[in-house]
């Protein structure tokens, strides 16, 4: 037995563990948003880190460790909590709701991002938090990975296992949904004036088309 090889081994393992744990805050924050439960988030992060350690031979040194960890986290989450998979296939279709854009005036948007009464700012931010929680998982994940963790589209595509075009569409629609609920909330508070927007347009299209979903999956499988 060689003390050397074991010592080297330990050093290598510890080095990897140290680097991985450097991303703990980011992993934990995203896990909290995905699971919406701190103790489940903890389990998810632990599963992720241990899986990463066991599979670290598969990680190409010099590539993005953080992106790799997030990919494991995402897959673990989907496998554990979303056995049926995500509502992916429907969302990969063309933007079903082109009217999302061009919905309010410039001055309304200005009020949304910068309410005249600064005291309202925390309320707006609280609404962002709530609206994010309410987003479908795929949108939520895309938005968080891009806006909070600042991954590139390519990295997000790898993490989520989908084409870049899909990432863009999810981001676009996720952000629009956030803005809608923000707008409706601001409307209710009297920060802006106008007509309420249907917040659930995209949700409804998902729910209303189970047959299409099955058909879409079959089509996809056939193509693959």
């Amino acid at each position: 037995m060689s003390l050397t090889s074991v010592t080297e081994k330990k050093k290598e393992v510890d080095g990897f563990a140290e680097e991985a744990v450097g991303h703990l805050d980011a992993l934990y924050a995203v896990a909290c948003k995905l699971t919406r439960n701190p103790s489940e988030a903890e389990d998810l992060v632990q599963d992720t880190l241990l899986k990463a350690m066991r599979a670290r031979d598969q990680f190409n040194a010099g590539t993005n460790l953080k992106a790799w960890l997030f990919r494991i986290l995402t897959n673990t989450f989907i496998n554990k909590y979303r056995r049926g998979g995500l509502e992916r296939s429907v969302l990969e279709g063309p933007d079903a709701d082109p009217l999302v854009d061009g919905w309010v005036s410039a001055s309304t948007m200005r009020h949304l991002r910068d309410p005249e009464q600064q005291a309202l700012q925390p309320i707006v931010e609280g609404e962002v938090r709530r609206a994010l929680d309410a987003l479908p998982t795929d949108f939520k994940l895309a938005v968080i990975l891009c806006d909070v963790e600042e991954f590139s589209y390519e990295e997000i595509a790898q993490i989520m296992g989908c084409p870049i075009g899909t990432v863009m569409s999810r981001l676009h629609r996720g952000r629009k949904l956030l803005q809608r609920s923000l707008y409706n909330h601001a409307l209710a508070l009297g920060i802006v004036k106008g007509e309420p927007m249907p917040e659930t347009a995209t949700h409804a299209s998902v729910i209303e088309k189970p047959a299409d979903l099955a058909a879409f999956r079959t089509k996809k499988r056939g193509a693959a």
Partner: protein
């Protein structure tokens, strides 16, 4: 600005904000945004939203979570090391056979890593290669130790008489009047790390039996892990004790110890109170071996902790 132009900006604005557009598209978006108040506000709103999202998501992991993750990973690391060691035990019989061939070919320099055994072809994984070669080297060293092939005269000339270092006497004293082991399970012995301050690994020798380990106090309030082995040679049982210590805290008087290079390892060798002592360091961990063997054999043996491939 036409509504159509704004509509086609939809996806581009987001990608622009994310810095994901190529230069041509970037110019296109910038031109449009400069001329269109609505799209300018859309961009500003997106940007503000991004800031709010960062605040909403940011959740530093609590210390207790961090501690749990570190513990889980340390546990995984220990399990892996354990598996590696099991692999080593599994290959050590093969290594011993190969080593015997090597022994004839290089009778008096058997510990030199240059006399590396051929790699048996059935090894399925590269990871087992390094441990195998190291194990073979150690087995050779051990074989040499058991045979005591070196003339005493050669050894005596390099050993200054009477080592005065207190710590060295500590080690030898612990070896000669050894207390019974506290732990026979190498896994438990590894837990000594927190008292010793360096990782405590249990070397496994193919023809030596690990009896157990214990913590021993040393002069100056420091502690070392004491690992006890027995080698059977016919009816005789020879004892070998390996001390694992933190060389930053425990400096052992080197003046009375003769430095030697064995393979790539620097080993210091001496004799005190009738026992041979050999010291080496590797990976920031100090190893001292006190044994009933002759100094040359001890030196060869302890050098094996430092065999680099």
């Amino acid at each position: 600005m036409s509504a159509d132009a704004c509509k086609s900006m939809g996806l581009l604005l987001g990608a622009h904000l994310d810095g994901q557009l190529d230069p041509v598209k970037t110019l296109e978006v910038e031109d449009h945004v400069a001329a269109c108040e609505v799209c300018r506000e859309r961009l500003a709103l997106d940007r503000a939203l991004r800031g709010s999202l960062k605040k909403a998501v940011k959740t530093p992991a609590p210390d207790v979570v961090r501690a749990r993750m570190l513990a889980a990973m340390a546990g995984e690391s220990a399990r892996e090391t354990r598996r590696e060691e099991d692999d080593l035990v599994a290959v050590s019989s093969t290594a011993a056979l190969v080593a015997c061939d090597g022994l004839d070919a290089s009778a008096d320099r058997t510990s030199t890593p240059a006399s590396r055994p051929q790699r048996p072809s059935m090894l399925r994984h590269w990871r087992t290669m390094l441990p195998l070669a190291s194990a073979a080297a150690l087995v050779m060293a051990w074989g040499a130790a058991a045979k005591q092939p070196v003339a005493r005269g050669a050894t005596d000339t390099m050993v200054p008489a009477g080592l005065s270092d207190d710590l060295l006497r500590d080690f030898v004293g612990q070896h000669s009047h050894s207390l019974p082991p506290e732990q026979a399970d190498p896994k438990q012995v590894r837990q000594f790390e927190r008292y010793v301050g360096v990782p405590v690994r249990v070397p496994q020798f193919s023809n030596a039996h690990f009896v157990g380990g214990r913590l021993v106090p040393l002069h100056g309030g420091e502690r070392a892990a004491m690992l006890q082995y027995e080698v059977k040679q016919g009816a005789d049982v020879q004892r070998v004790t390996v001390f694992v210590y933190d060389p930053r805290k425990i400096q052992i008087g080197g003046a009375n110890l003769a430095p030697r290079a064995i393979g790539t390892a620097e080993v210091r060798v001496g004799q005190t109170d009738g026992y041979s002592v050999a010291l080496t360091q590797h990976g920031g961990v100090g190893y001292a071996m006190a044994s009933d063997l002759d100094p040359e054999s001890s030196a060869n043996l302890v050098s094996a902790v430092d065999h680099e491939q």
